[in-house]
């Protein structure tokens, strides 16, 4: 296990010593043959395939389902590290919800001059939501905050996913798999449980039903079986014990939403929707959408149904808005930001653009509205030709891009071809808001399986790991 020096290693410290939280695990690894690891790995793959945990990759011609690779070596975080992440993400999401309420109401933060007026021209800003009151003033009921670590105590927020963040099913299924494969490790480590996530989510969703409804009916709205995250939609609906509905199962009548059942129409109070704003109501947004429910927006605006997440949250997790989040925290909460942002250059600003264009080989350039690792340039690992091609692309529409220094993502031991090697990881904890804002201890840990790669997206060859948050009383 040679340590690559420039990156923070989750298991091995600079002096080639095993970090204390990993000591029991490291010993276990030493005592376990590569044959044993290999067979556990095969078992995991077999089980995942049987359960059908697959995802569709857009653009793959055969439309085949495949597994997101699962790595059987967990990422460990101490309770102290988790405390920090917990407080930081909760603080952030609270501020983001207040920001969303503000820009769809009084717009104080703009009037104070802390964020530019131009934010309202963002295509993700939905004027339809102006003046609409949502229950408990919660907009992002489910937020997936992507966090990377670069040093012992240095964590950065990469982005706040506030639209329809996915990946929580991997947090739950990976844990189930690990407990099945390695029960002996769970005896040595007291790992904080994650299994109650669906219950916490359901309670939050019930809490945001319109006033006066005693037993609100919650449903999960999916684009359907061909969506890349369909497995997750089905899984969460099942875990919460709610109906998994498609647009065609719902209809609008007299300021209410109903689902079609074998016994006739049934009123729906809260919709956990996993369909983007653009496709949710063909009458209001993309009129060609076959996925949505005609008339849904008007019922929503009148308070006949609650949507989670709310419509119009995209304006707050946009990469152009991202750089103002620390200011939001100070403005709304009067607190200092706990988690830091990555320094970001806004290419719509002349100075930032000039700097970026002359340092393309040192920077990572991203599309403001891009996701999934598409449409980006990783300067340090790109060829001259790639950089020049991308320069042309940027110049066509500089407003559409931001640039950041590449981050030295921490690395974690990972099983690669029967032996252990280091790979870069990130973490997406899921922050839930409804009654209160909280985070289940864990998250989606993504790992870049290609050697040296810093891109962890599943669509770009990334895999997942289980994340173990160790309990306070833990002593391995």
């Amino acid at each position: 296990m040679a340590k690559t020096n420039t990156f923070f290693d989750e298991m091995i410290s600079g002096k080639d010593e095993i970090r204390s939280i990993y000591s029991a695990y490291s010993q276990w690894l030493k005592d376990t043959s590569s044959m044993q690891l290999k067979s556990k790995n095969q078992e995991a793959e077999l089980l995942f395939r049987r359960v059908g945990i697959t995802f569709n990759v857009y653009g793959e011609t055969d439309g085949a389902e495949r597994l997101i690779p699962f790595d059987i070596i967990p990422r460990l975080l101490s309770s102290k590290e988790w405390d920090f992440i917990y407080k930081g993400t909760v603080q952030r999401v609270k501020a983001l919800n207040m920001f969303l309420h503000d820009i769809y109401h009084d717009q104080l933060i703009i009037k104070e001059g802390l964020v530019p007026q131009s934010l309202l021209q963002n295509s993700q800003y939905r004027p339809e939501m102006f003046g609409v009151d949502v229950p408990n003033q919660i907009y992002a009921h489910i937020a997936g905050v992507d966090i990377v670590r670069t040093d012992e105590s240095q964590f950065y927020v990469l982005e706040d996913n506030l639209r329809t963040p996915s990946g929580v099913s991997y947090m739950l299924e990976n844990r189930k798999m690990m407990m099945r494969l390695f029960p002996e490790l769970f005896r040595r480590y007291s790992v904080a449980p994650v299994e109650h996530y669906p219950q916490v989510l359901l309670n939050n969703l019930r809490a945001v039903a319109q006033n006066g409804i005693e037993e609100p009916t919650v449903v999960l709205l999916t684009p359907g079986a061909y969506n890349s995250a369909y497995f997750e939609h089905a899984f969460i609906a099942q875990q919460m014990g709610v109906e998994l509905v498609e647009g065609k199962d719902l209809f609008v009548n007299k300021n209410a939403v109903y689902m079609k059942t074998i016994e006739g129409p049934r009123r729906v109070d809260v919709i956990y929707r996993r369909i983007d704003d653009d496709f949710i109501d063909p009458l209001a947004f993309n009129e060609g959408s076959m996925l949505g429910v005609p008339g849904l927006l008007s019922v929503y605006r009148e308070g006949g149904v609650t949507l989670a997440n709310a419509i119009g949250t995209g304006v707050a997790d946009d990469k152009a808005t991202y750089m103002y989040v620390p200011k939001m925290i100070e403005f709304y909460l009067n607190e200092k930001p706990i988690l830091e942002n990555v320094p970001t250059y806004d290419l719509s600003k002349e100075d930032d653009l000039k700097y970026t264009l002359s340092h393309l080989n040192e920077l990572v350039v991203k599309e403001v509205q891009g996701s999934g690792g598409y449409g980006m340039l990783v300067g340090p690992t790109s060829t001259k030709k790639e950089i020049e091609t991308f320069r042309e692309v940027i110049l066509k529409n500089p407003d559409n891009y931001i640039a950041q220094p590449p981050l030295s993502l921490s690395q974690c031991p990972t099983l690669i071809d029967e032996s252990i090697d280091s790979r870069h990881v990130d973490l997406r904890p899921f922050v839930l808001s409804g009654k209160e804002t909280s985070v289940v201890p864990g998250g989606l840990c993504r790992v870049a399986l290609k050697k040296g790669s810093l891109v962890v997206n599943s669509s770009q060859g990334g895999g997942t790991k289980d994340t173990w948050i160790l309990e306070k009383n833990h002593h391995a």
């Binding site: 395939r49 899984f235 079609k260």
Partner: protein, 314 residues
């Protein structure tokens, strides 16, 4: 329960049952073909298998010449044939995939692994070898599917729609099998109970897992009219029309929740006929006529189920 969900569950079960029955028809025809019989041409021998599955017309369109190899591959693996075992299992899996949230993990895993295991038969030419193993595999997986449903599913509407699909499909298949075989094995003019090859009738019984039941109940040589009785009126014979409708009537009653609908009424009418009917009267009316009527009514019930539960419009 969502109408769409009920629809998928119902069709998932129908397609699994269809695959099983297809396998049974193929298996029995293949077995019979191993017994030398110079009076019957290959085409005469294999056409009934197409008739039982209701694919005679599309076979004509897609393939044409009736040979053992062509029919076997068309009924087992052809993607153009919506009733082939391949297509039925694929449709079953697609229906299950669309509503996996409503079924138990074990039920989903059982369906999903059928589809994964199916890969081992990819591009195999069953007219050359392996047909029997393949048919056995299909039957076993279908048994397993029903067992898993029965052993793990909550007794709710979802369970009811799965069972409803199974029995509507099974009733249709048993009726078709009996109708086609009865005419094939009893050339016109021949007396009932005449010179019919024991082997052929026992194959028919075996194809619906009824040979042992026959021996146990009648304790006698195989008589065609008794075969007909066993597969239509005997309620203790699990693939008989009567047994299917014992289930269907209970399920529709539970689903209807004391609200009237045409599916329930029709099923009651057919059930009464099977429950109180006498085989002598059926033969007097004509077995073929009786079975044709039955297939039509069963199909009508299917349509009413769609209208009332599965594609309800408001």
């Amino acid at each position: 329960m969502l109408s769409r969900t009920a629809d998928h569950l119902y069709w998932m079960a129908r397609y699994i049952e269809r695959a099983e029955n297809m396998a049974r028809a193929l298996d029995v025809t293949y077995n019979m073909s191993l017994v030398p019989n110079e009076d019957i041409t290959e085409a005469m021998f294999w056409s009934p298998a197409l008739e039982i599955s209701g694919t005679t017309e599309i076979y004509e369109r897609d393939i044409g010449e009736v040979t053992a190899a062509n029919v076997i591959n068309y009924l087992a693996m052809d993607q153009r044939n919506p009733s082939s075992i391949y297509s039925a299992l694929k449709s079953a899996r697609e229906n299950a995939h669309a509503v996996r949230v409503t079924m138990t993990t074990e039920t989903w895993e059982s369906i999903n692994s059928i589809w994964l295991e199916f890969n081992q038969f990819h591009k195999q030419d069953f007219s050359k070898k392996g047909l029997r193993e393949f048919c056995d595999w299909v039957k076993t997986r279908s048994h397993l599917f029903r067992g898993v449903c029965f052993g793990t599913m909550l007794r709710d509407d979802a369970f009811n729609f799965v069972r409803l699909g199974t029995f509507i499909e099974r009733a249709d298949n048993t009726a078709r099998l009996l109708d086609v075989k009865y005419h094939l094995l009893l050339p016109s003019g021949q007396e009932v109970g005449g010179a019919v090859d024991y082997y052929e009738w026992s194959s028919v019984l075996r194809s619906v897992s009824a040979l042992q039941a026959y021996q146990k109940i009648f304790n006698d040589t195989i008589e065609p009219w008794r075969v007909a009785e066993l597969l239509t009126l005997r309620c203790d014979m699990p693939r008989s029309l009567h047994a299917c409708f014992d289930e269907i009537i209970l399920i529709l009653e539970a689903l209807s929740k004391s609200k009237n609908n045409e599916a329930f009424r029709l099923a009651g009418e057919i059930h009464a006929r099977l429950h109180y009917g006498k085989i002598k009267d059926i033969f007097q009316y004509g077995l073929h006529e009786f079975l044709s009527d039955f297939i039509k009514s069963n199909d009508l019930i299917g349509q009413e189920i769609h209208k009332h539960f599965l594609s309800a419009t408001y």
